[in-house]
């Protein structure tokens, strides 16, 4: 009895259409619809907070369809309210999503906003210990860092009636461990390739440079070394690089 009652209540809250059978079984249609409205509005609010640009780019009708479909077919599974936006975006990008998927700059904007939202509370709570930088040691990147390559300048704000400029864009999104603020940093392609290499805990800064050069091709000369040093210093200053990775089971060799 209780299991059936709870299943009916959940359907009233999440189904696209409220079943008259469920409402009649529970009684008091008006008050159960009040619960439906309270549950859905709270969830919509957190999705709106996480994806303001994405939902605006979709347009009101399409955004509403996405939300309604998600609640109907894959309602929140996580007990952590903050994870609702990730569940929503995963559904929209997943194989089971029955509507037309977001494309182009809209999809990329969703991914960027999802990265920004999830970085706010991504683990770990405390930064890992790090040593002094050395070209012959692996780097300790900020573990909350996410890297994105997009085909539009989605990190730039545009007026509501404009589209994001089409331009290959390299981004890093991470949370600073002191301020707890999420930063979105545009990178040039070389910096992007280097950082992606340095994500590997088993290669040194020097090995990362060589691997990135093999990918995109650049001269390693005095000027490059100078710019590399400046870049590393700037990234340390900004909390993206924490220092040299201290030995761990993965990195000891």
């Amino acid at each position: 009895m209780l299991a059936e009652y709870q299943a009916r209540v959940m359907r009233i809250c999440f189904a696209a259409e409220v079943s008259s059978v469920d409402v009649e079984a529970l009684g008091n249609r008006e008050r159960w619809l009040l619960y439906r409205q309270m549950v859905r509005s709270r969830i919509r609010r957190v999705i709106g907070n996480a994806f303001p640009g994405f939902l605006a780019a979709l347009g009101e009708d399409r955004a509403t369809s996405y939300l309604e479909t998600w609640l109907d077919q894959a309602p929140p599974r996580s007990r952590y309210f903050r994870e609702g936006p990730s569940e929503f975006f995963d559904f929209v990008q997943g194989d089971e999503f029955p509507l037309q998927r977001p494309e182009g700059a809209t999809q990329e904007l969703g991914a960027l906003e999802h990265a920004r939202w999830s970085r706010r509370f991504a683990l770990p709570a405390l930064p890992p210990n790090a040593g002094e930088l050395s070209f012959e040691s692996p780097l300790q990147l900020n573990p909350t860092a996410l890297f994105m390559q997009a085909e539009h300048a989605i990190h730039q704000k545009v007026p509501a009636d404009r589209c994001h400029v089409k331009k290959t864009t390299f981004l890093c999104i991470y949370r600073h461990f002191d301020s707890h603020k999420v930063h979105t940093r545009e990178l040039n392609e070389v910096a992007y390739r280097l950082l992606r290499q340095w994500e590997n805990p088993d290669i040194t800064i020097t090995e990362g440079v060589q691997a990135a050069r093999a990918e995109v091709g650049f001269a390693i000369d005095a000027s490059f070394i100078e710019r590399l040093s400046s870049m590393l210093a700037a990234f340390v200053e900004d909390g993206l690089i924490l220092g040299a990775r201290l030995s761990s089971p993965q990195t000891s060799r």
């Binding site: 209780l2 969830i43 509370f121």
Partner: protein, 276 residues
């Protein structure tokens, strides 16, 4: 350390100012574990500072003792770790069900006040207490379905608490809201609650809609009727810790401190004890 006197919900919007000012009215704070578990960023950092300042009491949002399915250790073990870290004297959650079939409503959905519901709630409380190793308390919730037999609500709450040997977190605003929405005497409800079971009290504001239905929003100032019921309740249960809940539409801290001053006056009048 056990909380005494008045506390306030440690909410993000007022946390920095609370920590900086440490107002005399605040003797302890309440945190929602779900906001801190398995999470990096600003919240855990604030919690660390909070622990250096006040006794902390935990109040869950998603355990909902009326769930059909037992709670997983994936949830209970990190919860246990957090409760241990903050040294809470007890942990409370709501007598409701938050979801079913693996889905979460992120709301406090009402249970039918049946023997089956009671059996499930008692079972869930015992299971959770076995894992958490801590005294648990159940909170009465607001609900909006008169068909759920409101006249049985107080006895249902007491029976669950007694059979599970749990404490009660008595939400005075919820008693008031239900009494108006469902037409029963709030004082009769309070009279049925054994004082010895009460761990703490909650007091909050509510919204009166144009159709006269009252919604427990935690987003409005505490109303005079609720203050009156709080005084009656304190006379009944004695000097238990009282928490001012404000989760939405949070005003400047000074406004909340004025509410705490008002609660302190009531506390003194009802119990003879200074709350802060």
């Amino acid at each position: 350390m056990k909380p005494q006197g008045l506390g306030i919900g440690f909410r993000h919007g007022i946390a920095e100012e609370l920590l900086t000012r440490q107002p005399r009215q605040v003797q302890w704070v309440e945190v929602h574990p779900e906001n801190y578990m398995l999470r990096g960023g600003r919240y855990p950092a604030l919690l660390q500072r909070c622990l250096e300042t006040w006794p902390v009491v935990t109040h869950g949002l998603t355990m909902g003792f009326g769930n059909m399915e037992p709670h997983s250790t994936e949830y209970l073990h990190p919860l246990r770790d957090l409760l241990k870290d903050v040294q809470t004297p007890w942990h409370t959650d709501h007598l409701c069900f938050p979801g079913a079939g693996g889905a979460h409503s992120h709301d406090l959905l009402p249970l039918p006040l049946t023997e089956e519901s009671k059996h499930i709630a008692v079972q869930r409380i015992r299971e959770c207490r076995d894992v958490l190793g801590l005294q648990l308390g159940v909170e009465n919730v607001s609900y909006y379905i008169p068909e759920l037999d409101p006249l049985r609500e107080a006895s249902f709450l007491v029976e669950v608490a007694q059979e599970a040997d749990a404490g009660i977190l008595l939400d005075v605003n919820n008693v008031y809201v239900n009494s108006i929405n469902h037409g029963f005497d709030a004082r009769d409800y309070i009279d049925q609650i054994p004082a010895s079971r009460v761990l703490q009290l909650h007091v909050a504001g509510h919204l009166v809609r144009s159709d006269s239905v009252i919604i427990d929003t935690h987003g409005e100032p505490v109303r005079s009727e609720v203050y009156e019921l709080l005084e009656y309740t304190l006379r009944h249960v004695g000097p238990k810790p009282v928490l001012l809940e404000r989760d939405n539409n949070i005003p400047p801290l000074d406004v909340l401190l004025e509410e705490l001053d008002q609660i302190a006056e009531i506390y003194k009048r009802a119990t003879g004890v200074d709350a802060c």
